[in-house]
């Protein structure tokens, strides 16, 4: 019996100590981390949405952690400990089958886009492999008062009736919209910058813009930042996102307005007599002058558009105007 006590008891005691040291104590200590600047608890509706997110396992394909690495820069600034104060259960995730959502409320502020995408992701991103969450919506003959039906493209809409979100879908979208990183004090940002590996932005050399613009780079940036709404065809989605093809602003000789829209975003815009309610995010904070010039020039020379191209210097000038 003594041997049994020695081996079994001894090893269990050792393990208990290690569990305490590596699991419990770090847990206690890190639970005490204070909230970062501007980090707020969720509202009741957003919290409900978080529960929908958890119940349906969104966290298995979407992370909520931005690493201090070059490739993560597209998802926002590196996450810091204070960001997670009110995040229980934690949703950092372990796989990025789909993109990171830490800052999705800033990166994709359009509620309309979120609803279409949730109903059937392929309606806005043809290559997406995310499941359709059409069971979070109701198909009704007529939208109840005060509720706008989801403006689905014809190919994805039900044959009869209109689609309206259920309460769960509304909560989920409210939660996604709440996922916004709070800006950090300058000192902390400087530290994070130095920790970053060389970001992809560094590869866009100024020479590329000399003989016009870098078409490949412009196309890739358009795919990464714009095509989810405006579509690869530049035609947008009727009733949801305005077309860029044949768009007056895009074809105007004076590109000032075009640059302003990309830099500052837009809301409640009227294109070709149609009002588009969905919001476009500003890109001034995430894209460099060269990158914005590449995107604008790509838009101005694609789909039969023939707007005057812009240079990074012009974008810089526009950017300075609003500061």
């Amino acid at each position: 019996m003594n041997k049994l006590v020695l081996i079994v008891g001894g090893s269990t005691l050792v393990y208990a100590c290690l569990a305490l040291m590596m699991g419990v104590l770090p847990g206690i200590e890190l639970s005490r981390v204070a909230a970062g600047p501007g980090v707020q608890p969720l509202t009741a509706l957003q919290d409900e949405g978080r529960a929908v997110y958890v119940a349906n396992g969104c966290g298995y394909c979407h992370t909520q952690q931005v690493r201090p690495l070059g490739q993560d820069k597209v998802f926002g600034r590196p996450s810091i400990a204070g960001d997670f104060k009110y995040q229980t259960p934690e949703l950092l995730g372990s796989e990025r089958t789909g993109p990171d959502l830490t800052n999705i409320g800033v990166r994709q502020p359009s509620e309309v886009w979120q609803y279409i995408h949730l109903y059937n992701p392929r309606a806005v991103v043809p290559e997406s492999i995310m499941p359709s969450f059409n069971w979070l919506f109701d198909v009704v003959g007529q939208a109840p008062a005060g509720m706008t039906p989801v403006p689905l493209p014809k190919a994805y809409a039900p044959a009869q009736g209109v689609v309206v979100p259920t309460h769960k879908a509304e909560a989920l979208i409210a939660y996604l919209a709440s996922l916004k990183q709070q800006p950090l004090p300058a000192a902390e940002m400087a530290g994070d910058e130095s920790a970053m590996a060389s970001p992809p932005a560094a590869t866009s050399t100024p020479e590329a813009a000399a003989g016009g613009y870098d078409a490949a780079k412009g196309g890739a940036l358009f795919t990464a930042n714009c095509s989810a709404c405006h579509q690869a065809s530049g035609e947008g989605l009727p009733g949801a996102f305005p077309p860029l093809k044949g768009n007056d602003v895009v074809n105007a000789a004076d590109a000032a307005k075009h640059m302003q829209v990309v830099l500052q975003g837009l809301h409640g815009n009227k294109v070709g007599g149609v009002i588009y309610g969905s919001a476009m995010p500003p890109f001034a904070g995430t894209l460099s002058d060269t990158e914005i010039a590449d995107i604008i020039d790509y838009e101005r020379s694609s789909w039969g558009n023939h707007g005057q191209p812009v240079t990074p210097a012009q974008v810089a000038a526009e950017r300075a105007k609003t500061k």
Binding site: M22, G27, T88, A220
Partner: protein, 470 residues
């Protein structure tokens, strides 16, 4: 096998039957869980190519994913290994099971937890997308109760051993069960884990639930089954003891390597990386011990599928764990973290190591308990389909995951990494289909070993007769 031989005289045939039926019952329910869990896995694999396949809330990917992992872990692997553990503990201690009744109660609780957990997850009751602890906490308490009953029963059994020494298998089996009780308690208590604190606990839990539960039980089975199959002692008992203690000391410290580059304290991540390297000591020590035990017996191996299964499992242990060490390095995490490479790794270890070990152990030991054999053809079909299938699975996801990681580093639009994965997802489905087919054959083999035509009336009784003569 000195330790077995001496004591059989004290055992009655009733005790043998009681042990055999406990062992068989654990195996049968574990097999059903394997079929279910991998059927779900296969459905998910198809969804990567056809996202609209299997629509609706109950079949949505995010609910099936934890059902697949939890049913594999706590349905299949846990129940199968506890069944093996009971058999090994009783036989290597030359005694009968402390309490067959407790074993049956444990079996009911394990299955109850797995069934309730599956239903809860499918209804959307997920305890926070926290990997491997998604079941609502009351269900995890049922699992904990089953674990504690098992630990008690195992300790009681080994306490009745007829020899002075405790065979190494039992160190691993009892140790693993008790450690997992601690892991389960650490994971389920809610009062100290909020926000980032919970991240630290998640890192600890998700790694320990695998490596301090499945690994020790599997190693314990190896230490019993290999000498049995080869009729020679383990190469070095001392090396086994050394691997036991080093594994115990190093493994619990490496969990934070699941959250590299996260806001967890940098020192915690670095400590995890250092001990991930230290893990090479018990892994290489343990694997070489098994391989040296098999050395020079290649001819036996070719003629014995149970040995082939165990051989693959040992190689899976060696490769999978060494890969885990490499993955922990920051330079490689930068490429592979969050990609499908990790999914390849987890299948190399849970399938190439744990599942193959379970099968090897069952094919080696279950016929000894029940006196019934599966056909060689059945074993061969199972072996080759599982081996080829898992090869395709792991290799396609390793290549695809690497491409995915490089796409991100090259700053391509995110959707490009989804597009580039498509053909690898298809290959994963091909591998997965073969794996699932092999499980159908396995189920048939289990049927034969439990309810098929008897080869001998009671193998243990007849062996005892032989030994008595000797």
């Amino acid at each position: 096998m000195q330790f077995v031989r001496k004591q059989h005289s004290s055992l009655s045939e009733t005790d043998d039957r009681a042990l055999a039926s406990v062992f068989a019952a654990y195996t049968v329910t574990a097999t059903l869980w394997l079929l279910f869990a991998t059927g779900v896995g296969l459905l998910m694999a198809f969804k990567f190519g056809a996202p609209e396949f299997g629509g609706g809330a109950w079949l949505t990917f995010g609910r099936l994913r934890p059902i697949h992992t939890n049913a594999t872990f706590y349905g299949f692997a846990s129940i199968a290994l506890v069944g093996l553990g009971y058999y090994v503990a009783a036989r290597s201690s030359g005694t009968r099971l402390y309490s067959p009744k407790l074993a049956w109660i444990g079996l009911v609780l394990f299955n109850l937890a797995a069934a309730a957990g599956t239903i809860a997850l499918d209804l959307g009751y997920n305890d926070g997308d926290l990997e491997y602890r998604e079941w609502p906490w009351p269900i995890r308490l049922i699992f904990l109760a089953a674990l504690m009953i098992t630990a008690w029963n195992l300790i009681g059994t080994v306490a009745r051993r007829t020899s002075g020494d405790i065979y190494l298998s039992n160190w691993y089996i009892i140790g693993g069960t008790l450690w997992t009780c601690i892991i389960a308690v650490v994971a389920v208590l809610p009062w100290y884990q909020y926000g980032l604190g919970q991240v630290a606990v998640s890192g600890f839990y998700m790694h320990n639930a695998v490596g301090m539960w499945f690994t020790p039980l599997v190693l314990g089975t190896f230490y019993y089954a290999l000498p049995k199959l080869l009729s020679r002692p383990i190469y070095s008992y001392a090396l086994g003891v050394f691997a036991f203690w080093t594994n115990l000391l190093f493994y619990p410290i490496i969990g934070a390597h699941h959250f590299e580059f996260s806001p967890l304290p940098w020192w915690l991540q670095t400590t995890a990386i250092v001990f991930s390297v230290a893990m090479l000591v018990p892994v290489w020590g343990g694997s070489s011990n098994f391989l040296l035990t098999m050395r020079g017996r290649t001819r036996d191996m070719v003629h014995s599928y149970p040995l082939m299964f165990i051989f693959v499992a040992v190689i899976g242990y060696l490769l999978g764990s060494t890969q885990g060490t490499l993955e922990a390095f920051r330079s490689l995490q930068e490429v592979w973290h969050l990609t499908n490479f990790t999914v390849g790794h987890s299948h190399l270890t849970m399938y190439g190591f744990v599942a193959f070990a379970v099968w090897g152990g069952l094919y080696a030991l279950l016929p000894l308990a029940t006196g019934r054999q599966a056909s060689t053809l059945g074993l061969a079909l199972h072996f080759w389909m599982a081996l080829v299938g898992s090869f395709i699975y792991v290799i396609s996801l390793s290549i695809g995951g690497t491409i995915q990681g490089l796409d991100w580093i090259h700053g391509l639009p995110f959707i490009q990494s989804v597009i580039d994965m498509q053909s690898y997802y298809v290959w994963r489905g091909v591998g997965g289909s073969l794996m699932f087919l092999s499980h159908l054959v396995f189920a048939w083999n289990v049927w034969c070993m439990c309810y098929g035509a008897a080869v001998r009336q009671s193998p243990l009784a007849s062996r005892r007769a032989e030994e008595a003569v000797a």
